[in-house]
Amino acid sequence: MIVVDDLSVSYGAVRALQSVSFEAPSGEITAVLGANGAGKTTLLRTISGLVAPLSGTVRKDDEVLTGRKTEDIVRLGVAHVPEGRGVIAEFTVEENLRLGFMIAQGSLPDALAEQYEMFPVLGERRRQAAATLSGGERQMLAMARALIARPSVLLLDEPSLGLAPLVTAQLMQQIRDLCAKESLTVVLVEQNASSALRIAQRAVVLRVGVVVANDSAVAVRDDENLRQYYLGMVE
């Protein structure tokens, strides 16, 4: 479980987050929605320690994450798939995965086999440079690289970016299955509100750094105002 409490972040004079509070329970997907520049990426970067907050705290279960280094937060089981995926293009698929496994315990071959089973296309391309993968394959590699260390929290920053609707739907389904199976805490940042709300249990809506809704995904989906003004879901 991730608990964000009264979090404020600013970049110099620009206030990116203002007193943001919410909880992301284990075994559930919490969607974080909002327009461009709402502060979604900033929120994830603050959780994983890449950005230091002005005030407020982030906790994972009983541990306070705020003030720790990114490298240590990752070791506490918080995996962050960044915006744009962050696949290392010069590395092969397998090297990317080995890097992801670096902080984990146990046998590397077993862990690799497990990921290749979940994402068969990665197994076929294991010796290929990641630069040669398609956008969807890169997204799978980024997911596999995050999952291979067996995290308990998964932060996903716009995984559907640049993917075809069909691929997005498959990806969302995969995220949902994972979450249920491993009892992960998933924080899913999305522009694409409708597909995120379809799989999420909870939803947080940000508007220029402020939480305007924090409710069940169903309630957010059915709220006509939210849909129209903040999520741009005019159907």
């Binding site: 990114t70 490298e71 990752v74 962050h80 960044p82 290392i88 293009a89 090297e95 080995r98 440079a129």
Partner: protein, 299 residues
């Protein structure tokens, strides 16, 4: 066969390889740092010489050559790490001339301090290998035990570095930290530690290079003895591509051979002019280096 092995051209190639491995090592140590910090370590030669003095001048002169070499390597590791922690760390994110200036300052300090402590006169090292060429049917072969030692040692160092980067967990992290620091942190790589280790490795490679250079009876160890070698090593690295370890090493070897031919057929003063010319031409034609793949950059 004998006539072939003692012919002028073959001996030029062999002699060229013996100096080429040195340029290749310097180029390699420059590339190690360039890839991770986008800095050209102008103090590389001076740091290497300083480590060598620690190995060979602080210990008693009778100390075993290999013990001194080991001490020099350890001194290189320490000096490289300390430089990164104390000096280089403050220069990340500054305009690109700041690190150049700082490293040149360090170069001047280290060379002056070495000269103040150990004087500028050349100090011969007790090399365990003769520099007298082997004879084949009473003709010299342009290959001495020392040259073989130089070539073998350099190749071993390159192989160790390559294996470290390619096959170990540490190497994977070092490469990742250089290519994508933020992503690496998100995967738990201690990037700032990797930068320190990179400088340590680079300076240790430099220390081996300086020991080899100074082990040559004719040059010996002097405070500024690496200035010229550094210049050639930089030229090799720039031609091969500062981003490409393999390219830097290959072009180091090639330059060694080319220079040997120039020195033999033209004259030895022309070598550096040819080197400068090659650098200028290659930078004009391929500014990022002959071996750097220009496509496929980070997304």
């Amino acid at each position: 066969m004998d006539a072939f092995l003692t012919s002028r051209n073959v001996s030029d190639v062999l002699g060229g390889l013996a100096s080429g491995v040195i340029y290749a090592l310097v180029a390699l140590s420059l590339v190690l740092i360039w890839r991770s910090t986008r800095m050209l370590n102008f103090a590389q030669g001076a740091m290497a010489v300083f480590a060598t003095y620690i190995g060979f001048a602080i210990l008693a002169p009778s100390t075993n050559y290999w013990v001194s070499m080991a001490v020099a390597i350890v001194a290189g590791l320490v000096l490289g790490g300390a430089t990164e922690r104390v000096l280089v760390r403050r220069l990340y994110g500054k305009p690109e001339i700041n690190p150049i200036v700082a490293m040149v300052g360090l170069l001047l300090v280290l060379e002056s301090v070495a000269a103040a402590i150990w004087s500028t006169s050349s100090r011969p090292l007790a090399t365990p290998f003769s520099i007298v060429d082997w004879q084949l049917n009473h003709k010299p072969m342009a290959l001495s035990p020392f040259a073989v030692y130089e070539i073998v040692t350099s190749l071993v160092v390159m192989a160790i570095v390559a294996a470290l980067f390619q096959y170990t967990k540490l190497g994977l992290q070092l490469r990742a930290a250089a290519l994508a620091p933020e992503v690496s942190r998100l995967l738990g790589v201690r990037v700032s530690r990797m930068l320190t280790i990179g400088w340590m490795l680079s300076t240790a490679v430099g220390a081996v290079t300086a020991v080899l250079v100074a082990s040559n009876f004719f040059t010996g160890l002097t405070p500024s003895g690496m200035d010229g070698v550094f210049a050639f090593g930089f030229i090799a690295a720039a031609i091969g591509g500062l981003d490409s370890p393999v390219g830097a090493m290959v072009s180091g070897l090639a330059l060694g051979v080319v220079f040997q031919f120039v020195g033999d057929y033209v004259n030895s003063n022309a070598i550096i002019l040819v080197a400068l010319g090659m650098l200028i031409v290659s930078l004009m034609v391929r500014p990022s280096g002959v071996f750097t793949r220009s496509a496929q950059r980070r997304v």
